[in-house]
Symmetry: C2
Amino acid sequence: MDATILSYFKENESRYLEELKQYLRIPSVSALTTHKSDMLECAKWTADSLRAAGMENVEIVETAGHPIVYADWMHAEGKPTILVYGHYDVQPAEPLELWNSQPFEPEVRDGKIYARGATDDKGQLFIHVKAVEAWLHTYGKLPVNIKFCIEGEEEITSPHLPPFLDSNKEKLSCDIVLISDGPMITAGQPSIEYGLRGVAGLEIYVQGANGDLHSGLFGGGVPNAIHALSEILSSLHAADGSVAVEGFYEGILPFSEEERLNFSMQPVDENQVRESLGLSALYGEEGYSFVERTTARPTLEITSVTGGFQGEGIKPIVPCQASAKIACRLVPPQLPDDILDKVERHVQNHCPSGVTVRVKKVLRGNPYMTPIDHPAVRSASDAYEKAYGKPAIFVRGGGSIPIVESFSRLLHASVVLMGFGLPDENLHAPNEHFDLGNFAKGLETVCYYLENVSKMNG
Amino acid sequence: MDATILSYFKENESRYLEELKQYLRIPSVSALTTHKSDMLECAKWTADSLRAAGMENVEIVETAGHPIVYADWMHAEGKPTILVYGHYDVQPAEPLELWNSQPFEPEVRDGKIYARGATDDKGQLFIHVKAVEAWLHTYGKLPVNIKFCIEGEEEITSPHLPPFLDSNKEKLSCDIVLISDGPMITAGQPSIEYGLRGVAGLEIYVQGANGDLHSGLFGGGVPNAIHALSEILSSLHAADGSVAVEGFYEGILPFSEEERLNFSMQPVDENQVRESLGLSALYGEEGYSFVERTTARPTLEITSVTGGFQGEGIKPIVPCQASAKIACRLVPPQLPDDILDKVERHVQNHCPSGVTVRVKKVLRGNPYMTPIDHPAVRSASDAYEKAYGKPAIFVRGGGSIPIVESFSRLLHASVVLMGFGLPDENLHAPNEHFDLGNFAKGLETVCYYLENVSKMNG
């Protein structure tokens, strides 16, 4: 790769912008059935732009919902394969009166393009399409193999994507899944989300006597289900804020120095977080920062508790039933089923005599991580550095993004989350916009990335 | 007192029975407005029977609800005054189809009289009226001063009795309040309930952040209101089952040997209790029996707990609010306000950092006890022994009977609960009945009691 491609970007800048505007004019709102024909039009537009970029085997794949657009270019023999994921659907634009320009009539103001879908995800997705176009136009071939998998249901929880992945593993097989569907950490500071927490959820049911009992007749003489549940729940954490379930942290590697350095570089002011939440103190596992606790360490939260008389006033009973719900956030190598077993064992071992406890396991999601020293991640950081003049910060996400986990699990590929949006670009809100500077830097970054990946072992 | 009065009972047995039947025929259902005229008729019938017995100053006192019947006989100068409390109202008779005879057409079968109100409370109350009649007829005067206070709203929680007591303290002043409105412990085994537990109720509100937080973004890094509440709740009891609130047991006297002996004489099989409740183990304060724990020791029960998302499924939040309700049962000398203060202090002291806790004090009822060596109680036990051939067992009630507490508090009198009913006489249920053997023994017992009390210092 050389300066030719950068000139190409420069020369075609206004055409790219016009095409992006066309893309953004299609009101592809997946949630509303009135937009069904817009969805189809948008899928076709996406397919056409991939074809125009030089991608091959372009397909609009019907699903039980909105179609998925597929394309590939597979002539870089012996080179790795990147699968680019994105989505052409957008959130509803309402409330319309809060927009300063029409949501589906894109307008450029102050170096930003305003429209529904600008940053989430059409603008970011379009970077990849146009980077491929530029490369193919400039060099006649790509340095790596590329596949596109672009869905139209991301904003409605992607119901048909995992079954599509599952039944097309061969077709979609790849080394890296590349996703640009989120923000970088702050303006000018690229970041790579290299891990997401998994989830394990369970419900706990404590049963005492075979019915609620009058506290005047039985109070003090029989087990109280809420007492018992409180004992169980309060046993789940140690005094140092760690989870007290035996084996909970088993196999989790300590953070490397580089990881901790990266965590500390995130612009998070713990005092400001605390104050904005109205808290006198934050909470968590001793020895870890707020960023580490909420993004890269596993946790166990009681999300709900219920027991006894739920009406107004005090009904003087000894309650016979009490229940709680728990959601754990997991990090590799924790797996939901193993954690659920361990929590269940803990709960049973800490159940006071006289009552019984039953555990219902209800929620499972694998955590995901591509280690920061993995070549697919290093290549991304290096690409950012070349385009932005500074390396990416490595961050981890405390939540779970089911599609990322699905890609990672079903395709056994390394997922790289390379965001070009900004945190304040109003995604899902009125006046959504996308910084055109990041659009331009994104084109460069993606090209550097393709080149970097081509040097990896395929 | 001599055999003459016993002969009088014998001679008048059938008349007494006929009169009781008349009394029971009046459907004095306080809960149903359709019985308003029956209530008035029943109050008049009660007043007439007191007048016929020789009582003086008989009055039907109007209240905002059903009237109260008052009468007195105050010519035993220098002798103690007994105030007999009872009620002429009854529970509704429904469901009528489950009765083997008409609820308001009394029928004697197998030595028992069947009718609504037979044991609760017309039959038991009538014992006192007829004992007075017999004594006055036989000896021309009573050995003690006697007042009657008979209400018509006991089955609807006595809304107008405490204000009546409060504004007639002089008129109702007495040494002993004598109540026969409950069962003896088993057939042939008289019992005296010499104490009732009081009650103190509070609500606990834990507040964490200023809103529920996404557990993917904040989980592990902020205080969880349910964790905090569970810690507070589980701190309320010690491992030995005692209440861990500082000063909770302050001033409570240990049981005397006689009290413990009496508790142990109650026909309660702990294994059978446990099995009937479907429990693998009972629970409670170490060193005390089930009877002691549930009737004579104070206790703290969590009656309700709520926090987090109450809908179906697991909503992965860090909840910002959680609350619980607590009901304590108290024994003398515990007082509700003091106990509520102590529990509040404990809750504040055990509140984990980061969250705040607020206590709302909502329920207060004094405990009540007449010590078993009090002459008013001894006299009752002795009277039972003379009539039944065996002394009464002293028992305590684990619940709170508000009117007993009102009498004790407002009139500063010793309350003596002298039951002549049996535990299986279906009060509040179809086929309510009263054992006529206990009616006869009751007449004797009450006469012995009047005589015994006349020997006390007035």
